[in-house]
């Protein structure tokens, strides 16, 4: 009988297992200087994850914390634009790649920073036929390199803004185990249903620790009469499988202008009711993470 793979000593010297272990070590070493890694996810698109991440980062920075943001949306990156660093370039440094910093000193890493211009699509070099065989690997490596090769330095919070769906969330949980995840939803039945499905995957399949839910666009804030109006028809009571709702953020059209201008809404409107809601959300997020970190209460 001919020899089998294990009968021939060595693997040509490649030590693929050792190389993968080195990549894992590089990632865990980098994240060791970050107190809390928080994923911002939703099963559904268009719920305002990136807007929320932008303003959470701003709110935490305004409270004096050191904050970084990783844009895990490989094909639709938006955080660099929303945080005002889209025209900047990361810089190679002695300890990884130095990310651009915003006016609030938030460190940002995004695929957008690796594109030639704002209109350039994300296209990996390689044969276009049967690209499904290798594209998924590159997406995973892009996220891994964002986390492992960015010189984040010492951070209190690293927020990871995930694309819609659960695929990248599952990849993230293969790579690292965030301190907890924040789930973004809208106060309507469709969103709650889709988000509920992603929660089942996150909690039951991946056993991912969840911090709570944020309901975005929970009403409309009128800057003229300073009142809060419902944005959607009255819906059934929210039920997110027992997860606490950490915040309900009303929509303010100035969110859109702020995003376009690359300036977090909170920088200019922290005193407006939606701004106060966002700052309150930051406090509750910090409290939840502190509770989880001190193991007084496990993540749900």
């Amino acid at each position: 009988m001919a020899k089998r793979y294990r009968d021939i000593v060595g693997d040509g010297g490649s030590d693929v297992d050792g190389q993968l272990e080195q990549l894992r070590h590089r990632l865990s070493s980098r994240l060791a200087s970050i107190r809390h890694v928080v994923a911002v996810m939703s099963g559904k698109g268009g719920v305002g994850k990136s807007t929320l991440t932008t303003n959470l980062a701003a709110g935490l920075a305004m409270k004096g914390h050191a904050v970084g943001v990783a844009d895990a949306d490989i094909y639709g990156p938006s955080l660099a634009r929303m945080l005002g660093v889209a025209e900047r370039r990361p810089k190679p440094g002695r300890d990884g790649v130095a990310p651009p910093r915003t006016v609030l000193d938030i460190k940002v890493m995004s695929m957008a920073l690796f594109l030639e211009d704002a209109q350039a699509p994300v296209v990996f070099r390689g044969p276009s036929r049967e690209a499904f065989t290798w594209k998924g690997m590159l997406e995973m490596h892009a996220l891994r390199e964002f986390l492992a090769d960015t010189d984040w330095g010492e951070l209190d919070y690293l927020l990871i803004d995930l694309p819609p769906g659960t695929n990248q969330f599952a990849t993230l949980h293969d790579l690292i185990r965030p301190a907890g995840s924040l789930v973004v939803s809208l106060p309507n039945r469709l969103s709650r249903e889709v988000v509920g499905r992603s929660l089942v995957l996150a909690r039951q399949v991946l056993k991912a620790p969840m911090l709570g839910v944020v309901e975005n666009m929970a009403g409309y804030f009128c800057n003229g009469c300073l009142s809060r109006q419902p944005l959607f028809d009255r819906q059934a009571e929210a039920d997110y499988d027992g997860l606490p709702i950490l915040g309900r953020i009303p929509f303010d059209p100035r969110f859109v202008d702020a995003c376009d201008a690359g300036r977090p809404y909170l920088l200019d409107y922290a005193d407006a009711p939606p701004g106060q809601d966002l700052m309150g959300l930051c406090d509750r997020l910090c409290d939840r993470l502190a509770t989880v970190a001190s193991a007084k209460e496990p993540c749900l």
Partner: protein
Amino acid sequence: MKFLCVECDEPMKFDQFGGMDDDGSLAVTFRCPSCEWGVTMLTNPQETQMVRSLGVQIGSERTAPAPMAMLRQFMPFDALDGVDGEASPVEASASGASKCPFAKMIKDMDT
């Protein structure tokens, strides 16, 4: 991946690199050290790309991968190229990296 000469029950050794075509297809010839029977491994562009996308180096001579090496290798535009910065000791290996995933193996076997 190893190649075995069934007749001799001997692992084959690298013999010749047939080059990588523009589309990414690759040819590497291995030969049995006992009977000199040869076999050429031909990969199509997808197979070559699949190995490249694993993010590991094939062969015994390795350099620590430069930061963002995969991104820089696979993005059509190198955002870090020409940017002033404090270059890391392994920085040079990113831009100078061979596109052939088996380059290290071939170099090993060549010497």
